[in-house]
Subunit: 226 residues, 2 copies
């Protein structure tokens, strides 16, 4: 899956890939609201592209669970629901836990360094959304941090699953916690997780990670439900 977020080479960028990035951002931020119908002709006009790259982009976003496609009946932004959020949280806790355990088992000193670095960069970002730019920088650093934690697990498919689940959860957070003040516990949780990972305290790390995922998940759930 091509991913413009990972800061790899700008590379030869295809129109579809650019679109994937733009649409993903729009969906994750709730600008394209959950459940909204995505009429191809209208999008073609508003994004100034033809149908082919648009279809391709939407197809890729379907595999990330951000878009739903029904044959001959079109596209819509993936809807949100209590059940879906619950599953995302549950699966994230399980799969990131598994991945973290493997990363601790296989990670080397370079990995420790990357975790440390990613955590440091995260602490340098301001969470309280001053400017949208700063908020976006925090989101990027946050994503990178969580990805780095499991980057040494040697299970690329599992990493992919985790990334997908993380994105899904993030969408809920961005939509339903949009104007909440930043959770004050989060920075300490991140620090504790990073610390435990680097010190190879597997049980601690997995426990802390699970708690972090489940606690933040419950906050979103509380905002979503009633």
């Amino acid at each position: 899956m091509t991913d413009l977020r990972s800061a790899d080479l700008p590379a030869s960028t295809t129109l579809s890939s650019t679109l994937v990035a733009r649409l993903r951002t729009a969906i994750m931020n709730g600008e394209l609201v959950p459940g909204a119908k995505l009429v191809l002709d209208r999008m073609r006009a508003s994004y100034g592209v033809s149908l082919s790259p648009l279809r391709e982009a939407l197809c890729r976003l379907e595999s990330e669970g951000l878009v739903e496609i029904v044959d001959q009946r079109g596209y819509r932004v993936a809807p949100v629901s209590r059940d879906n959020l619950a599953e995302v949280i549950r699966l994230r806790a399980e799969l990131e836990g598994l991945a973290a355990r493997e990363a601790i088992a296989h990670g080397d000193a370079a990995w420790e360094g990357r975790v440390l670095s990613a955590h440091h960069q995260l602490t340098r970002c301001q969470r309280g959304s001053r400017s949208p730019g700063e908020q976006e920088a925090w989101e990027r650093a946050h994503r990178a941090f969580h990805a780095e934690l499991i980057s040494a697990c040697r299970m690329p498919m599992l990493q992919q699953f985790c990334e997908t689940l993380h994105d899904q959860g993030d969408r809920y957070r961005r939509i339903f916690l949009k104007d909440h003040t930043p959770d004050p516990h989060v920075p300490a949780e991140h620090a504790a997780i990073a610390q435990a990972m680097i010190e190879r305290r597997a049980e601690d790390a997995v426990g802390l990670l699970r708690d972090h995922i489940e606690r933040t998940g419950r906050k979103i759930m509380a905002a979503l439900c009633p």
Copy 2:
């Protein structure tokens, strides 16, 4: 994700979806060999379709992990490797185990009935590939059986993950165990798993399922490696 394998309504079938089914079968059977380049123009000719549905089909197959896409550089059948097989087996064991546990917790009598029925139908299929048709019938029943075991887990994304992983593993089996005699232990394992699931013996069921997945996985690994 549209799926022609589930025997739902023939429905209004789009060309892309038909192609997905055809290509998936071809890839899973090894007719399209792992790593092979999929040149659009050539495929367009041999399948008698235009580029649009072809691209779309390949895009969908990428999300199933059966095709690899690189921007501006084309499509290829997903390669196989020892590491990938190991990850597929490991993840299948973990995720199907989790799903089975949930299914046992949530399943009702109707689910028990479906499991029983799926298992019965599986026993009615001949494994020793007499005709390709009979072999294909067994494959279908086998897939349906494993899907039914976890159908009550109330976690659609997890079910999707499991289906993808099952397909991936099946491809290895079909390719590398093509001319092996059917594994004689498998029918008893299936029976034991179904029995334990229905009787709600969670630990037994998950253990048996894991063993089944890992044991058959090792057989494939042995054929793949040296």
